[in-house]
Amino acid sequence: MSKRQYNNRVMQWVEDRLPIISLMENSGVIYPTPKNLNYWWNYGSLAGVVMVIMILTGIFLAMNYQAHPTVAFDSVERIVRDVNYGWLLRYLHMNGASMFFLLVYIHMFRGMYYGSYKAPRELLWMIGVTIYLAMMATAFMGYVLPWGQMSFWGATVITNLFSAVPVVGTDIVTWMWGGFAVDFPTLNRFFAWHYLLPFILFALVFLHLWALHTHKSNNPLGIDAKTPQDMMPFHPFYTIKDLYGLGFFMIFYLYFVFFQPNFFGEVDNYIPANPMVTPPHIVPEWYFLPFYAMLRAVPDKLGGVIVMFAGVLILYVLPWLDTSKVRSARFRPVFKQMFWIFFLDCLVLGYVGAKSPDEMFMGIMTMTTLGQIATTYYFFHFIVLLPLLGKYETTKPLPNSIAEEVAKKYAQ
């Protein structure tokens, strides 16, 4: 890279000693971006904004939060009632977690639809899956902190999943608890992890962006950019587009914060944790429901746990399960339909996860049965459909270039 000159002498002085000015310019201003990105490409930057909001609100919550079973619940109530703007910090944080997952889910389905996980972006995708795992761990431990009934019993049920491990299962669970039940040591260490993990997540996001900037964004056509005519500088075109999207998103997010702050929550979490009474219906937060349905679909304890973890981990090998060379679903007529069926299947799993297992679905079958069908289909999609489609699907002809397609669109 040739040496860059800046008119501002301070910038130049820094640049000569640490080329961070050009780094920022390269990755945030002149960074070449495909011309044809649609609004599904907004969700990554939105998730980044929410991550920053989570870390900020989290740090300020931590200044008033106390991680001890005798006071944790009351300290959260105090934040909401007595701390200046504490209600705002808490509700931004609480609803921010839901927003984070919503955005990341859309971001991931976008990647699946447009084949963004395919070569040369496999590692980018895998880092993304790792971010998702870190998010799940962070959110799970954060949910324990207010020490309500759902906090306590969620923590109990989830940590007990590890008791399914043969031979050492119970020892692992005792080790995670630091005792013989979820109690003070558990709460205190969960708080420590909940503070640390978001920063690890932040570092992962950097790796994610580094990998992204190595091969640049995929695009709705799924074809490689060939000439500079296919690209545009990130600023001002995509900075503006991202900001425009952010405006809409913030209206949506803040609607919940201001008017329905407990929409995504469970009422039972406003009952202080009681280790002697299990609430009649334990449901995880909405973003875990599909996996909860998978857990309950298998009648065997260890089997259920394995299937549930496999449901997430299979995403790591997605780039190798989908063998089609064509990325975008636009040119894969059968895959496109399968994608939507898969999407629907995930919604069904989420629905089943929210219901009690013996409940009937439209009078035909129990939720457990429906969950079993949906779980089977979930894995069938990855393990059978994707490899077969890669082999047998007749794809549509790919366009010559991004620039040509964009020109065609605007000629009309």
């Binding site: 080790w175 013989f180 040591p185 334990i282």
Partner: protein, 179 residues
């Protein structure tokens, strides 16, 4: 002095140094990790709180009480003759975790169990009078539907094991120490 290539005969000595340094380094790191891991295990004060004394004299036949032991509920049920009979008469072959009732009690009228579902740790209902006791008259776990019998053995649902019997001893006719 320029002889630092491996081809001049002392290659094996360099290899030895490299391999032994690496081995020692890995072993040392592994040993250093243990204190961190073990610090997460129950501390001495947590272990010290590990026994509970209970006076059973007020618990009438057919009644049950719940006490805390190591942060967990322990179910103590004063069983009726019909409870005991039901527990003794079932075919062990039909069970997921076969165990004779006699092996689970010290005195047949006193059934003492850790009241934590062996599936994922919820607390089964059946201690209070109006509670659902499941299809086998013992306890019912509402979380994912496990049924336990009048000996606390798993009979139906996802739980893999019977409700465990904690270590306990009768100090006299009506007093026990759990743990």
């Amino acid at each position: 002095m320029t002889d630092n290539s491996n081809t001049l005969g002392d290659g094996s000595r360099r290899d030895f140094l490299l391999v032994s340094t690496a081995t020692l380094g890995v072993a040392g790191t592994a040993l250093a990790v243990w204190p961190f891991i073990h610090s997460a295990n129950p501390a001495k004060d947590v272990l010290a709180l590990a026994s509970t004394e209970v006076d059973l004299s007020a618990v009438e036949e057919g009644m049950a009480i719940t006490v805390m032991w190591r942060g967990k509920p322990v179910f103590i049920r004063h069983r009726t003759p019909s409870d005991i009979q039901m527990a003794a008469e079932v075919e062990l072959a039909d069970m997921r975790d076969p165990q004779a009732d006699a092996d689970r009690v010290q005195k047949p009228e006193w059934l003492i169990l850790v009241g934590v579902c062996t599936h994922l740790g919820c607390i089964p209902s059946g201690q209070k009078l109006g509670d659902s006791r499941g299809e086998f008259g013992g306890w019912f776990c509402p979380c994912h539907g496990s049924h336990y019998d009048t000996s606390g053995r798993i009979r139906k649902g996802p739980a893999p094991f019977n409700l465990p019997v904690p270590p306990y001893a009768f100090t006299d006719d009506t007093n026990i120490v759990i743990g």
